[in-house]
Amino acid sequence: MHSSRSRSRRSARFWAGVVTAAALVAALIVASAAGAKAGHSTANTTLVVDNSFDLKSADPAHSGEPTGELVDRAIYDTLLTFNGANVATPIPDLASSYKASADARTYTFTLRKGIHFGDGTQLTSADVVFSLNRVINIKGVSSTLLAGVTVTAKGPWTVILKSATPNPAIPAIITNAALGITEAKVVKAHGGTSAPGADQSDKAESFLNSQSAGTGPYMLKSFDVASQVVLSRNPHYWGPPPAFQTVVIRNVAAPTQLLDVQRGTNEIALDLSPTQASTINSKSVLVHESPSANVIFLFANRNPQVSATASNADFAAAVRYALDYPGLVKLAGKGAVQAGGIVPSMFLGSLGAKQSIKTNVAKAKAELAASGLSNPTVKLEFPSDITLNGVAFATIAQRIQSELGAVGISVTLAGSPIATALTGYRAGQEEMGLWYWSPDYPDPNDYVAFLPGQLVGLRVGWTAGADATIDQLSHTASTSPDPATRAKAFQSLQERMNSIGPFFPLIQPGQVIVASKNLTNTVYNPVWYLNIAGVGTR
């Protein structure tokens, strides 16, 4: 009797356990489904931007990565800015106007009056001087933007930037979000300094990663370099208020972005490749495809000590004409274009399609024969773990190997992770290399680095004085205050580089922005991707 009762009690306990477990599982499934439904109906006041994060800091003085530009552009105003995709003419932002000296060394900015920070303090020239000097003295990612520039105030509403050398790019440079203006009083109160030695003594970064101190359309609500950045509308903003109360910028891989943007509302995906975008058949999104400002290029090292083969000028010419440029453009997908020169197509002084290098296999073979090299073999190094705008460098490298093989050049592929590949590239030790350049600011002066004796030129063994014509053109191109003169000089310069230089500009891959159909103004900007504050609704 006792045993039977005990058994039945055990049995009851067992079934109670089973029922409880089943109820728990059912509750989790219901919760999941209910949560899923709730998740789809993101409030109309929230904009969601999906991006594969390249982000280190929200502090403008420590920022410079693409996601940092995207975030800081929404939080911090700059002296000048650009409207939408137009990066040819800077327009007023915090400065109502500016004046350049005839020698392009001195720029005088007149500030708008009545602009206030979040705590009600009015913005003055002291804030501008503090912010820009802080960037310079922190010696961080963006300090080189203002190399050789001194910043001073003349009264509360005038700021003067003086460059040691003529620099017509300064109006374009100061649009960079890393040069956004912070409130000096607040930043100083949290350990910030703009004095020399700020690289060791400035302690304000953690504060600026927790809250913002700017005058921009949004304020920082939360910041996590790995997951998401949340912005909320700045009630004190001096311009027209942005359309969305809250913006959530999420770190999401491209394949997931593809699904998110088609399910979501008020959602934007920034990192889809043209191939991924071509799979979209949802009517609830709009796909914008345009050439990006990234230039993927190939080079043959001019230093004979690095490579007797690659440094041969006729060999370089053979490579130049052997490449199938239209094929590479097709490989990169919609929105991609051939890079006419090293300066991207949307910038001052870029080359048109007619002036770009044309494939000529017969000429390539003739050049190779003229080089005196018999069955040359070269090593092509590239970052094997990088995909730029959906284009994998390994794929381009394989294509190049095949195309050069067709004219008699054997290519050994040597891909390695970017962290290690950069070392050989920056030390000038690569025989041939496949790399890219993203603009730091939308002005052709950013590409002077490719000239002989300059930063990238030296990496490929192109030393100063290598070509007198280029030297002459580069001086005019980089220092003339007249935009038309500069444009012409940069075009001539690139034509010369295309005919005798060690660089072979290949493609500008397509930049894809996919957005919910109800969103407007989701325009690609070459420097900060997207002006979040400018996004509206239909």
Partner: protein, 362 residues
Amino acid sequence: MPASELANPQPFGPGRLASWWASRPVLSFVLRRAAALVLLSLGITCVTFVLTNLVPGDPAAANLGQLAVGDPTAVAAFREHYGLNKPLPVQYLIYLDHLVHGDLGVSEQTHNPVRHDLATYIPATAELALISIGIALVVGITLGVVAALRRNRLTDHVLRVISLAGVSMPIFWIALLALYVFFFRLGWAPGSGRLDPGANPPPHLTGIYTFDALVSGSWGTLWDALSHLMLPAIVLAGWNIGLLTRYTRSAVLDVLQEDYIRAARAKGLRSLTVIFRHVLRAALPAIVTVLGLLFANAMTGSVLIETIFAWPGIGQYAYHSATSLDLPAITGVSLFVAVLYVSINFVVDVLYGVIDPRIRIT
């Protein structure tokens, strides 16, 4: 202390120490493990330092932008800030000194103290891993027992195929497929992330959202967190379910051959009683053996799962640390993983003793 010892106190010599030590097996076990952990941690910091520096890469080149890396002033400032301008042995000694004081250094990728980063990202992975292992244990053991009891029948064949598929299919592919079907097509699961976009996390207690929301009574956040957790946890459990099903099936089959099981059945005990009280208990040591493996799978699988589901955990942090040659972060993550593994092995050893009294005696 016995009265005889009080009357004739023995000197505290090696013999007495050995007997005192032998009379406290648990303490001796814990102390041995703790000593092993210290030595292991030291070894890991040393190996990480040496290996990271053997990689032909430059942290300054990996972390500074394309223009700044050409500026010697910026490069020098970076090296000084992170102590990279000192010789490697000096860097290592400084690191050990800081480590003793609980300072793991500052991450070059996030600019935050590594301790802060670990405290931020570990709870996210822990939440995912614990729920996933819980699911794997329940489902895997159940399926394993069913497969063993239905040996060589259709159910067994189907479950063996399922478990083989579980351990064979790449986890990132299953993750993408699950997201596509349950989020994109059916709308049963929410999208990526730990919470809906713009939702506020619960008040911070542990960083484990479900727990924090439960404790603080934030029911809306609890449902939100649970709904976001289920799909990645189930996908992450897939591999472990396959593994556990196979192990459990094999262990249960071994036990089913034993005479005492036949005797139990002959006595007329109910089938479920035989399974739970006799078969499963005897098979548990073999199953517990794979517990460490389950954690290892959860940790390695989390890198891919976290990427697909935009889950801000330690897996993504480790990946980005490695690709940017962020030495303090790499060392911090390595130390965490080492401590985790030693702790799990310790728990497994203790569990052996709990499950099987024979081990306790030996």
